[in-house]
């Protein structure tokens, strides 16, 4: 059972970096104005950040990490582990994390590897970096998580275009004795692997001319096989059933009281799904922050992005316990109870 605790590791700060360019859903032309109003009402997404063609996830992560290292006044040589959580790497190979290790000027003694998870990736990444630091004694680590999904979405796919945005994050971890343990519950269900998928271009279906031919799949949904496709109904059904289970599992396993959780930060899937999850968990809505309105669904960046934007003043004068839950592509999910210390650095920048 993947429910476990990691002690003596704490979060020192988070910087999120998003592209400056804003796309407004009200301006979308592939939906009628009536449909777009209904879409905005249901999903809660009004604006999204869209990266220019030459901007990669790693560029946003680089800016976020540089800012965080400077603001925390960290010595780069002390950073011994760097994880890059993303489904939009620079290349098929090598991993992007090594490129970032060099670009950030980190030591050659730094461990660097990629974790190609999406919506659950931030929580998975936290568990991996904290687990390695605790077990090996590495003192400082950086978790970089984010995606530029807009480059993988067809401009004529109404099921994906208005929902997904681009964003990245950098989170600083430090080994520190006697801090409150991080608690995790992680899981997977690969039977739903087709629910969110880019089918062509890797090993199973090699890229061919056909991979780039746009196909009209149903009214308003055109895409090709090198682009992201989502079965919204499957993902919705998965989210509303699995998320309450994993959250309750963590709470019950560690005998935690919902009353003592200050904020519940869920992956920003869409408003309808998140409201349903919140309702099923019987969590008061004032404890559940959102960033969907301004950024949409930004894959593994939604949790840190919600923290730095919607909770930016939450840790000024006291420590807070947060319940984080990421879920989606894989299918995969992860829940964590994490203590944020007073005055944890939270920053939001644009590129």
């Amino acid at each position: 059972m993947a429910t476990f605790s990691i002690s003596d590791v704490t979060i020192k700060g988070i910087t999120c970096c998003v592209p400056k360019n804003i796309a407004y859903n009200k301006d979308i032309t592939i939906l009628s104005s009536e449909d777009i109003s209904k879409f905005i009402e249901t999903t809660g997404v009004e604006e999204r950040r869209v990266a220019p063609e030459d901007m990669c996830s790693s560029d946003l992560c680089f800016e976020a990490a540089s800012d965080l290292i400077t603001e925390l006044n960290w010595n780069k040589d002390d950073i011994e582990i760097l994880l890059f959580v993303s489904q939009t790497a620079d290349y098929i190979l090598p991993v992007t994390s090594t490129i970032l290790q060099d670009r950030l000027g980190l030591s050659k003694n730094c461990i660097a590897f990629d974790i190609p998870l999406g919506c659950s990736g931030y929580v998975y990444g936290m568990s991996i970096i904290a687990g390695m630091m605790k077990s090996t004694g590495l003192k400082k680590g950086l978790l970089l998580a984010g995606d530029v999904l807009s480059h993988k979405i067809n401009k004529n796919d109404k099921s994906a275009l208005p929902l997904f945005g681009d964003a990245a994050s950098a989170t600083a971890f430090e080994l520190e004795e006697s801090t409150k343990p991080m608690l995790f519950d992680l899981g997977s269900d690969g039977s739903g692997y087709k629910s969110i998928m880019i089918p062509d271009g890797a090993g199973r279906n090699k890229a061919s001319t056909a991979s780039f031919e746009d196909v009209l799949l149903s009214e308003g949904i055109t895409r090709n096989k090198s682009q992201l496709g989502m079965d919204g109904m499957d993902v919705f059904s998965f989210g509303i059933s699995e998320v309450p289970k994993t959250v309750n599992k963590l709470l019950n396993f560690y005998d935690l009281d919902k009353e003592n959780i200050d904020h519940f930060v869920f992956h920003q899937a869409n408003m309808m799904m998140n409201k349903m999850i919140t309702k099923k968990l019987k969590v008061p809505s004032e404890k559940v922050p959102y960033s969907l309105k301004f950024f949409g669904n930004t894959s593994s960046a939604t949790i840190p992005l919600t923290i730095v934007t919607a909770l930016k003043n939450a840790f000024i004068d006291k420590d807070k316990d947060l319940l984080l839950c990421g879920f989606g592509v894989g299918l995969s999910w992860g829940t964590a109870r994490v203590n944020f210390q007073k005055q944890t650095l939270l920053r939001f920048i644009e590129l």
Partner: protein
């Protein structure tokens, strides 16, 4: 599990549809209000009222509300 209760639950999720248009034989895709977002409401209702997890294929394979009801009954 009662078809009439199920149909009432369907009426409850359809804000802009005259209840008289909702019957077991209704071809739901022909309803003016039906779209991909109402499909999500139907999935939410199945979860909420019957603790049943409907998939995208379950909805795509169904033609009438009765088909959806039968699917829920089979999965309950």
């Amino acid at each position: 599990m009662e078809i009439n209760t199920f149909l009432q639950n369907v009426v409850d999720i359809l804000d802009d549809t005259d209840p008289s248009l909702v019957s077991a034989e209704t071809v739901f895709r022909d309803l003016e209000e039906w779209d991909s977002l109402t499909a999500l409401s139907l999935i939410a209702m199945a979860d909420d009222e019957y603790s049943v997890k409907l998939t995208g294929d379950d909805i795509r394979d169904a033609v009438t509300f009765n088909d959806v009801f039968e699917k829920i009954k089979a999965k309950a």
